[in-house]
């Protein structure tokens, strides 16, 4: 995984609350056996009509969304299914961070493992971000600070180990494999 220290980008705002992973990646795209190319299906049913044509009113189909790496979403994004295809799709599309007041547990875990930074902010900051789509903001993972265009700094929580892994491009699988001696000792202790 690529180390991530700083994400600086304009935002895309999708203000709906409770954006579930079925919206992020509808089930009919889960029959894939790889993790590549899912960006094209991100928000498929909000993004395309029945004929597969882009729906112009949807933000991801608008020119200002191009190149944006930060998605600002309504409260409780990522609820529902555990499908990792949702963060795979967001990452493949080009997003590197998701900002909301609440981020669902499994989606947050899955995002962290794929270089997609889940950022939980307070209501006031969130309200400002929702009202100012396209704002150029930065997310500094080192200091756990989100910077607004006027220089205001907002600290966000981030589990220390996940942050370490993101900053250093460390993959958790390798860390877990280094624990094999402790796992073997545990198995012996419980007779597993």
């Amino acid at each position: 995984m690529e180390p991530i220290r700083m994400i600086r980008s304009r935002t895309v705002v999708i203000a709906s609350t409770n954006i579930d992973t079925d919206q992020l990646m509808p089930a009919r795209f889960l029959t894939t056996t790889t993790r590549e190319g899912l960006g094209q299906h991100l928000f498929a049913d909000w993004r395309y009509d029945a004929a597969g044509q882009p729906i112009p009113s949807f933000v991801l189909n608008q020119p200002q969304a191009k190149g944006c790496q930060i998605l600002v979403a309504g409260r409780n994004i990522g609820c529902g299914s555990s499908r990792e295809h949702a963060p795979w799709g967001l990452y493949d599309y080009g997003f590197r961070a998701v900002v909301s007041t609440e981020i669902a547990d499994i989606f947050r875990n899955n995002s962290l493992k794929n270089g997609l930074v889940p950022v939980v902010v307070d209501e006031a900051t969130h309200a400002w971000l929702l009202e100012n789509p396209g704002a150029e903001i930065s997310i500094d993972l080192e200091s756990r600070v989100l910077r607004l265009p006027d220089g205001r700094e907002v600290t966000f929580p981030m589990e220390s180990f996940a942050r370490y892994c993101l900053l250093n491009g460390v993959d958790e699988t390798g860390y877990l494999l280094s624990q094999i001696p402790a796992i073997e000792a545990y198995e012996q202790r419980i007779g597993a």
Partner: protein
Amino acid sequence: MNPTTLFEKIWRAHEVVAQTADTPAVLYIDLHLTHEVTSPQAYSMLRERGLPVRRKDRTLATMDHSTPTDADQLFGRIPIKLESAAQQVSQLEKNCAEFGVELFAVGSPHRGIVHVIGPELGATQPGKTIVCGDSHTSTHGAFGALAFGIGTTEVGHVLATQCLLQRKPKTLAVNVEGALPAGVTAKDLVLAIIRQLGVSGGTGSVIEYRGSTIRGLSMDERMTVCNMSIEAGARAGLVAPDETTFAYLKGRPRAPQGADWEAAVARWRTLVTDEGATFDREIHIDATTLRPMITYGTHPGMSVAIDEAIPSDGDAVYQKALSYMGLTAGQSMLGQPVQYVFLGSCTNGRLSDLAAAAHLLKGRRVAAGVNFLVVPGSDAIKREAEALGLDRIFKDAGADWREAGCSMCLGMNGDTVTKGAYCVSTSNRNFEGRQGVGSRTLLASPATAVAAAIAGHVADARQLS
């Protein structure tokens, strides 16, 4: 020793390495359930790193999500219509053969929805840690197991190490007291709980369901409740094991046998929250006030009692949900025409669900214009239902009796609801497009599903019996 919660006891017993300020706990996983949709990329990871499946004896695989429920397609008499689904199924067969993982493939008498077969086999047991790449893994918590859904990267972690890196969640007690009124089911109870908690009320928490109402539920009913814990945002839901649990498990093929059984039960009896233990949060529900529930919106928290009007106070997102559903504030759900009824899923696809539905349906007909799909949760349930003649009741009434699978709960196996159509569904999610592009899902109990199938519109099942 300090009084501790059931959750805390299971957690501590599985700590290979305890969490610190800098590192999460290394948590041992007793049972890893896998299926075709969320495992292929995890097996690819093993291959890339040259790793084996560390504990094949703690890993089970089945195929359920993308398998068709149409017998001709399932048993290969005609090709599976969805080519990508067929490919995914064959990839699982290849992966399990290559890595030596036990697979309940098509034709196996044990195949079924992953959360139905674990309990059925007796592999789901009190005190175990159980994970699966599926959010409804919370179902297994009905047995007093700590069970939660994980993503595919974590599926890879468990395949490779039998462990996960986890921060300890908070605890949330849902206390339910009193007898459920006649005609009110476990599904209605859990929909009422989610309505009270909200769809993110359980985020970061493990729920323990407690109280006289929960103690009085059968295992099937407890599974229905625990299954939907994730719909309140909680990764896991627990019920302390008791005589009901032990009676269910006794004699099942993967349950402890002989002298081991007595020892296991003695151990399981200690799996309770001690008197005086505290939870991070508690809520209370009076079961005696509950009515049959049905959803009207696009998440499982948007529900009303069957005879209650759709609330009219809502923001723009709420209005958008109603508009998607084609419903209006102030409207009663009773009388709302439906085109599909789905009985099945890991929430309500067990034998008691089918039996309750058949009991109400017997001697009646499915209304013209209603497509009523009945999908057993597993092959074993299908056989048992057929032995009891339930299939005849469904077929005679005009319902479609299918092979086991996830089916219409999620639109990825060919069973879908057409755009704009309404489906009363015993499944767990009413998200936009969940049952097919443009589908409109009304979540309810098997009884309410049958009432709708007979009437052709949303109806109160209490007036049927």
